[in-house]
């Protein structure tokens, strides 16, 4: 009886608030803050455009990226016929860049997605159960962290052999510990909060608590890191191709294209210019988007 009396005024007040401002879901909150970051919005649109171009590339490209050779225009700089010029073998650079975007974006997305899923699961288990689980998982992360950046990827490629598939596996493995640590930290902070205690006290299982109550609290951090990490992964994958361990010629991978272009830097710098620009613009867009997401999702930022 008493409880009902206390609850009623709240109920009565609800309709008085205009619906538009009453519904402040995490999504609308996020959108309200993200919208103000003009640079990030532009970067996000650019990323969207890149994805569309990459998906549509096989239908958009003016020439075959690997098997079309324009022998009359070897090494020619950009023109109306060949927007980004022609490489020393007579291939159209614009077509190769477009087809290359498929490889780089796939490498970036897939490797980070695998790293994020595995790392998040490990971080949730380590943070929630602590004890032995935590010690074992964090020890694995320490060992993975003991190999500086690209070195781990090179080691994995040395075992599995070159090629883009193995590069993706290598970059994914090297993303795991970062996500695991990040999620573990968030889980440790969240699991002592009242709402988790409340869930436990009404008899929710560990699975329900972790998946329904703790995991949503870690999503913001994971999303921000995901975006920032894609840039790093694209660079790492391109670097591996550049040093000859990833995609092999004639595949139009941007790093591999740059490596091919090295021999002709003196005579035709445009062959190196466009792959460099392509990597730079793509990675820059992901980094700016990541910065914007962080500013919109991090509760600490707003006070500044």
């Amino acid at each position: 009886m008493n409880e009902q009396a206390e609850l009623q005024p709240v109920d009565a007040e609800m309709p008085a608030v205009p619906a538009a401002t009453a519904v402040r879901t995490p999504w609308t909150e996020f959108w309200r803050k993200f919208r103000k970051q003009h640079v990030a919005v532009v970067a996000g649109l650019f990323v969207g455009l890149l994805i569309l171009l990459a998906i549509g590339a096989p239908w958009i490209v003016p020439y075959d990226a690997e098997n079309f050779f324009d022998y009359d225009r070897l090494n020619t700089p950009p023109s109306l016929r060949h927007w980004f010029g022609v490489d020393p073998l007579g291939r159209d650079i614009f077509s190769r860049i477009l087809m290359g975007s498929r490889i780089s974006l796939t490498a970036g997305f897939v490797s980070v997605a695998v790293g994020a899923v595995v790392g998040t699961a490990m971080g949730l288990v380590a943070g929630y159960y602590e004890g032995w689980w935590d010690r074992i998982i964090m020890r694995i992360c320490d060992v993975l962290f003991a190999f500086p950046g690209i070195l781990l990827a090179i080691g994995i490629v040395a075992i599995l052999g070159g090629g883009m598939g193995n590069v993706i596996i290598a970059v994914a493995i090297f993303s795991i510990p970062t996500f695991a640590r990040l999620v573990r930290g968030n889980t440790l902070a969240l699991k002592h909060l009242t709402f988790v205690e409340a869930a436990r006290s009404i008899g929710a299982s560990d699975w329900t608590i972790v998946v329904r109550h703790i995991f949503p609290g870690t999503i913001a951090a994971v999303v921000v890191y995901f975006s920032l990490r894609i840039g790093t992964s694209i660079i790492t994958a391109a670097s591996l191709s550049f040093i000859g361990m990833g995609a092999q010629p004639p595949t139009p991978e941007w790093g591999a294209m740059l490596n091919e272009a090295r021999a002709d830097m003196m005579t035709s710098p445009h062959v190196a210019l466009f792959p460099s620009l392509a990597i730079f613009c793509t990675v820059l867009a992901f980094n700016l988007l990541g910065d914007g997401l962080r500013d919109a999702l991090d509760p600490k930022i707003e006070q500044r």
Binding site: A146, I243, I279, R304
Partner: protein, 306 residues
């Protein structure tokens, strides 16, 4: 303090042991028979058997691991399959060029990065901040190999100011260290800025301003010293980045260092060299992180007593 140090050193042992185990298993994970790899493609079955015995590959795995660990502890990493020389000699010859390159890159990038970060924080949201942060976000987005090629094209090929490849004089160090350090400078700038922005909103900074101290004193004495604490940690992490980055940069500038040795070794499947280098790189990285943690404990007493 001593207790903390001992605790940290002991904590390293399991990590290093696991790293050694992984690096040891690496040879056994390689596709194909390591003895056949070592003997060469034209070897007769007898030679392969001899090589197998010579490398101890006929023993059980735990025995081999003990033998491997004993060798590593004595600085014996086996012999290069390509040159037949001891791996330790190969690494020894290539160590200094990489060390100096990394050192030069670290020195300039930390100095410039912190300067840009500090200026950006002090003039937050004004033009020095915008210029600095635009540079910084570009720096982390431009891959080192592309930057190296651009710098080489402009300063060596077009302007003839600097040599293109090799590591003979200090002039050879300018372009590779610029290339290697650019991303680190950018990360340091971003990190210093955010650390500094937090510090400048602390109460003690307001107090310092309120008591009429000149802004320079507030920024340098009250701000910078405190902002440096997280920056020191970041510096250590960046060393790992530099060790990895040097691999790519050494390929671009044909640098006679460890990175190129590693790339050549992977190309040639020279696994004793790969093993030695991976072990060395990870050991260096773990050691640097320990030094950074200790430095951190020196600066910040609350860490020590945890």
């Amino acid at each position: 303090m001593l207790q903390y140090l001992v605790k940290r050193l002991l904590g390293l042992i399991p990590t290093l042991a696991l790293v050694a185990l992984l690096v040891f298993l690496f040879v056994h994970l390689l596709p194909g028979d390591p003895a056949r790899l070592a003997a060469g493609p034209d070897a007769t079955p007898e030679t392969v058997a001899l090589v197998r015995q010579d490398l101890g590959l006929d023993k059980s795995l735990p025995e081999q691991f003990l033998r491997f660990t004993r060798g590593v502890l004595q600085g014996d990493f086996g012999r290069s399959l390509r040159t037949k020389r001891p791996v330790s000699t190969e690494i020894g010859e290539r160590f200094m060029p990489t060390f100096w390159l990394t050192f030069a890159a670290m020195a300039w990038s930390v100095a410039i990065g912190m300067l840009i970060g500090t200026l950006s924080a002090v003039w937050r949201n004004r033009w020095p901040d915008r210029v600095g942060m635009t540079l910084a976000v570009s720096g982390i987005s431009f891959p080192a190999f592309a930057l190296g090629m651009v710098l080489m094209q402009v300063f060596s090929v077009q302007l003839h100011w600097l040599p293109t490849v090799g590591a003979d004089t200090w002039r050879h160090y300018i372009l590779p260290s610029l290339t290697l350090g650019a991303a680190v400078a950018a990360i340091m700038a971003r990190f210093t800025r955010s650390s500094f922005v937090d510090i400048l909103q602390e109460d003690y900074v307001r107090t310092a301003r309120a008591k009429g101290l000149p802004e320079t004193v507030v920024v340098v004495k009250h701000g910078l010293r405190n902002a440096l604490i997280p920056v020191v940690t970041m510096m250590g992490l960046q060393f790992g980045f530099l060790l990895g980055g040097s691999i790519v940069v050494e390929v671009v500038f044909n640098w006679p260092g460890l990175g190129r040795l590693l790339v050549d070794a992977v190309d040639m499947r020279d696994y004793p060299v790969i093993q030695g280098l991976v072990l060395l790189f990870s050991f260096e990285f773990v050691l640097i992180n320990l030094i950074v943690d200790v430095l951190y404990a020196v600066i910040n007493p609350t860490i020590r007593y945890r």
